[in-house]
């Protein structure tokens, strides 16, 4: 077979390539289930740390609950973002993407999507429990979840940019946080604001719309930017 003439080949469509990458990343994560759990547990832990560091009256807790929730979400997304491209760039897989002839933007989009499914979504799903532990009323839960869903997804895309920019820097993780955090400020403000309103029992439509529009912006621009950054990072 090594020397036989090749049969006609069927090149891979970009979409198929994207799907392949998506599937592979999910598979890769499942190989080590605990890694999927990690950002989740981190989120839960940070939210547990706070009450420990504060005096444990529920009333006061409820005031800071939105802040705690969102800062925790922000941090764990940032940490997770670190792993988005690291292994790929370390073992040279990233070069292979660039050389694969597939649109890098699309590949990165797929990667980011997989990444959110694996790190952001679980966090959103657990948030009601955490919110209750922080003394939020049951009425506020849906708003909080929606807000976090929009926020974490946007964060994943921001994280992609940061990860792309820090390719090849050992110990990039903290540097990455530095790059992304400023971009994430608006998210944090609107997000915690929405949670605050929800807990106070008022309508949080305003901040949620703002979050949504930020998400749209991120989805359209981030993969392009990240792709460019990757190209730069390689040479």
């Amino acid at each position: 077979m090594l020397t036989t003439a090749p049969a006609a080949i069927r090149p891979t469509s970009s979409l198929r390539a994207g799907r392949l990458l998506f599937v592979r990343d999910v598979l890769l994560a499942m190989r080590r289930w605990e890694h999927v759990a990690d950002p989740l547990v981190f989120f839960v832990m940070v939210t547990t740390l706070f009450p420990l560091a504060l005096s444990p009256q529920l009333s006061q807790l409820r005031d800071v609950a939105p802040g705690v929730l969102w800062v925790a979400a922000l941090l764990s997304s940032l940490l997770a973002a670190d792993s988005l491209l690291k292994s790929d760039s370390q073992d040279g897989t990233l070069e292979q993407y660039v050389l694969s002839g597939q649109p890098l933007t699309l590949l990165l989009l797929a990667k980011t999507a997989a990444h959110w499914i694996l790190t952001g979504l679980p966090l959103v799903l657990i948030s009601p429990l955490v919110a209750i532990a922080l003394g939020a009323p049951t009425g506020a839960l849906t708003t909080i979840m929606v807000g976090l869903a929009l926020g974490t997804l946007t964060l994943s895309f921001l994280g992609a940019i940061g990860a792309a920019l820090t390719i090849g820097l050992r110990r990039g993780s903290l540097l990455l946080s530095l790059l992304v955090m400023p971009l994430a400020m608006p998210l944090l403000i609107f997000g915690s604001r929405s949670a605050e309103l929800a807990i106070a029992g008022e309508s949080a439509a305003g901040p949620l719309y703002l979050l949504a529009s930020l998400l749209v912006l991120a989805i359209t621009l981030a993969p392009l930017t990240a792709a460019a950054a990757v190209r730069i990072g390689l040479d």
Partner: protein, 244 residues
């Protein structure tokens, strides 16, 4: 005694003995629990201030107790495995962890369920509650570490180190939390349970705790047998067993 200990520690031997013991444990546990449930849910009178809500104690207190008991068991087994290089001990520790975690979880959930009627909230940052929660994290850490190392020997030893460090830390956590909590004014119902628990309530509770313990041993034995099979899969005695 010592020789007997070593004999037991040899996988094939243990496998056989455990196989024999399990059903006994299983049935006694079942009997005790059923009896305790009957005593607790039917015979015992409703609590004069909590009404029937107090009956959760029959699940809650035993699971909480087990959560602590199992962690210690796990750490001791791990230490034995590390010091005397005894594979079986590692197997025990490995099998104990998930059981302990689920008991901890049960304690948390039942506690939370109880908290709702009692304190009007699912959760308060009370000393005991908090340390129980942290205990759950310790279990998770142990399981996560074990799961992320595929080489068995290494996983055994590394997680053993963690378990031991953890058990040193448990009392520290416990007292720090109490201290932290009591520094503030008694925020909520810190002292748990009904005032003076009457014997008609106490006896079933004790039976329940005993039942849970024996149940734990039954589960542990079966799980360890599974572990042993997995670990010794290419050892001679299993092949023979398979042929036979």
């Amino acid at each position: 005694m010592w020789t007997w200990f070593h004999k037991l520690a040899s996988p094939p031997h243990f496998y056989r003995i455990a196989g024999k013991l399990t059903p006994w444990f299983g049935w006694t546990a079942l009997l005790l629990i059923v009896a305790a449930l009957y005593g607790g849910l039917v015979l015992a009178p409703p609590d004069y201030q909590q009404g029937d809500a107090f009956r959760i104690i029959y699940v809650h207190a035993p699971s909480a107790w087990m959560s602590l008991f199992i962690y210690v068991t796990m750490a001791v087994a791990a230490a034995i495995g590390l010091i005397w290089r005894m594979k079986l001990a590692h197997a025990v520790a490995a099998s104990a962890a998930p059981v302990g975690a689920s008991f901890t979880f049960a304690a948390l959930v039942t506690g939370a369920l109880w908290g709702q009627p009692m304190w009007g909230t699912w959760w308060v940052w009370d000393a005991r509650l908090t340390s129980e929660l942290i205990l759950l994290f310790l279990y998770f850490g142990y399981m996560a570490l074990r799961a992320s190392i595929e080489d068995l020997q290494r996983a055994d030893k590394a997680s053993a180190v963690l378990a031991i460090v953890g058990v040193i830390n448990v009392p520290i956590i416990h007292y720090s939390v109490i201290w932290w909590n009591t520094l503030h004014q008694a925020s909520t119902v810190t002292k748990m349970g009904a005032p003076s628990i009457s014997t008609s309530m106490l006896v079933p509770l004790l039976m329940m705790i005993l039942g849970f313990n024996i149940y734990f041993f039954a589960v542990l034995l079966t799980r360890v047998r599974g572990e042993v099979l997995r670990r010794e899969r290419n050892a001679g005695w299993i092949r023979e067993g398979a042929q036979a």
